[in-house]
């Protein structure tokens, strides 16, 4: 009994001597718009949490000789000039882990959905050093977006960073959302199969500076498709402070990194980085940092590169997971040479470029063939897709050129005509309604029938109908063939035979 008493006393002693430890303080000299200038604080570190009276915290962003510039997390109106500020020795951190799945949180990881507290067991710092080149593994496993035009022409691999870029209301968010829905679909099928080696793909959707109504729509769509349970939503809406909008994507990245470092896979959507850059510009103006091109602070490039550097595919022994990033950028009148757009283009491994013209012509998703690329993703495509889609992008680009040219010339040679006929049909095939992601095995089968000429005799205006019925036929009557494509990941002789028989059968039914 006396032992335990001694132990308790030792504990108190420990706490007491620890609490005499040195801290560093300063005094608020100026406060306004969520930013404080603090005199003193000579010992503050970059990105360190600072403690203000009343339990408020700030983040040290500017370290100058005699003062520190900090952004306030929370209600800055409660802070006044002359208040004492303390260093904490801690960096800003957010809760991470599976406990966050199915939840909507703010940029500090606090719940916004009224579903009770999040009992996370781990926390990660919001700013983290990106995994070095040694720990990275090459990108060779696919992320199936379920959007046929993307999976065929601009395939995305795990650990890749693929930009979604386009004017307002061209379907950027929808592409990201469809990709999340497809992961949920794959997860549900994988869980149902009972395969012990199945690795689910989780999603993180970070909303930055959007209207609350838009965020609610995304959440609603995910709920409708039972996909929210595989998703974490980090929301800093237009009505949140610039500080919170600035931090949100970094918090999301930390939540994503947890999956990556624990042998799991995740994708992360940043919707969008144009608004993020604006929030950062606002903060920098308040901190009186020098500004550069288009009034953005000079280090906005570094801001986005250190964010996107955090997605990777980690080698075994270093986490063995992956984080795939889909940053979104909004352009004005299709201008990709604006400052933020060129920056992010140069940081990412490719882009999906959406064209307003195509969108209004009803070609949706409005993916521009010529301007969309994926620099590393083709290594990740499964062989079946390579077999049927290898040449499609080139053919379609050629078709677009010829189509513009063909309006003027009347007598076309047979080959040009064939290219045009084929191109028109591929454009039709690639039209895809939102929230209807397609399995990769079905994509391969459809593209195979196109490649083998089964669509050539179908009038262009009936292609969609043909496709829909063929998909239904294959899904309900030829399930085993589709399953073989998925299992073998290629179209070998056996599959080819079965597909030929299936298409011959279907041709007779389709009238």
């Amino acid at each position: 009994m006396s032992n335990i008493l001694q132990e308790l006393e030792a504990k108190i002693e420990g706490i007491q001597s620890a609490s005499t430890s040195k801290t560093n303080v300063g005094v608020v000299r100026e406060i306004g718009d969520g930013v404080a200038k603090i005199e003193g604080l000579s010992g503050a570190m970059l990105n360190e949490m600072l403690e203000f009276p009343g339990g408020l915290y700030g983040l040290a962003l500017n370290l100058e000789e005699t003062e520190v510039g900090a952004i306030i997390l929370g209600d800055y109106t409660k802070i006044s000039e002359g208040d004492e500020v303390k260093t904490t020795g801690r960096l800003l951190q957010v809760p991470v882990g599976k406990e966050l799945l199915g939840r909507v949180v703010d940029s500090l990881g606090q719940p916004l959905d009224g579903k009770g507290p999040i009992n996370a067991k781990e926390f990660y710092p919001v700013e983290k050093i990106a995994p070095g080149i040694i720990k990275r593994k090459s990108v060779n496993q696919p992320v199936q977006t379920g959007i046929m035009a993307i999976d065929a022409m601009v395939p995305v691999g795990r650990g890749q960073r693929e930009l979604i870029i386009g004017d307002r209301a061209t379907g950027k968010t929808t592409i990201a959302l469809d990709t999340i829905l497809n992961q949920a679909k794959i997860n549900q099928a994988g869980e149902a199969s009972g395969d012990p080696n199945f690795r689910p793909m989780y999603s993180i959707y970070v909303a930055i500076g959007q209207k609350n109504a838009n965020i609610a729509r995304v959440i609603g769509t995910l709920e409708e498709h039972d996909a929210l349970k595989y998703t974490v939503i980090v929301a800093a809406s237009a009505s949140d402070s610039a500080t919170n909008q600035y931090i949100a994507p970094f918090s999301g990245a930390s939540i994503g990194e947890w999956f990556m470092q624990n042998g799991q896979d995740a994708i992360i959507v940043f919707d969008d980085l144009s608004k993020h850059a604006n929030a950062y510009r606002q903060i920098s103006l308040l901190l009186k940092r020098p500004s550069g091109r288009e009034a953005y602070p000079g280090d906005v490039f570094y801001l986005h590169s250190r964010l996107l550097e955090r997605s990777a595919r980690l080698a075994e022994g270093y986490g063995n997971g992956s984080l795939t990033a889909f940053p979104i950028i909004e352009t004005q009148a299709g201008d990709v040479s604006a400052y933020i757009a060129t920056n992010v283009i140069s940081i990412t491994d490719g882009q999906i470029y959406l064209e307003a013209d195509l969108f209004f012509q009803g070609i949706r998703p409005a993916i521009s063939v010529g301007l969309s690329v994926s620099r590393v993703g083709s290594a990740a495509q499964i062989k079946a897709m390579k077999q049927v889609a290898g040449k499609i992008k080139g053919d379609l680009a050629q078709y677009r050129e010829l189509a513009a040219f063909a309006q003027f010339g009347s007598d076309l040679d047979a080959r040009t005509k064939a290219t045009l006929e084929r191109g028109q049909r591929v454009v039709e095939l690639f039209k895809q309604t939102q929230y209807q992601p397609m399995d990769v095995q079905l994509q391969a089968a459809i593209l195979w029938s196109m490649q083998k000429g089964y669509l050539d005799s179908i009038p262009v205006e009936r292609i969609k109908e043909f496709q829909a019925k063929l998909q239904e036929f294959l899904s309900t009557r030829k399930e085993s063939t589709l399953a073989k494509i998925l299992a073998k990941k290629q179209i070998d002789e056996e599959v080819e035979k079965e597909l030929t028989a299936a298409l011959e059968e279907f041709k007779v039914i389709f009238k």
Partner: protein, 130 residues
Amino acid sequence: MKISREARRAAREMYRLSLVDGRLDTARVKDISDRLVSEKPRSFLEILKEYTRLVRLELANRHAVIESALALSEDESNRILADLKTRFGNDITAEFRVQPGLLAGIRIKVGSDVWDGSVRNRLNTLSQQL
């Protein structure tokens, strides 16, 4: 306080000239500020304010504030002062304040560094840990 870049630079230059062996020299501070006021260069008031701020911060770095819940005895004060001089050098100045809010114990601040051994601080730390 808005201040132009040139004024800030001038103040910093004046401040540098006020140091002897890295320490603020009272005679130089007086001399330099007198000359500024008599010559009245452009925005000299701004410069003087910024210069004063820098001097004040440096003085704070060489000045200790010792707070205690109850007034310290002469013996205790002298011990603390001697201790500070061995740590920070003989030119350190000190002031003692009574601060009942600390409940018990003392808190020493030199520049922006704080050593807090007060009961108030321990209670705060405890309540954060719980």
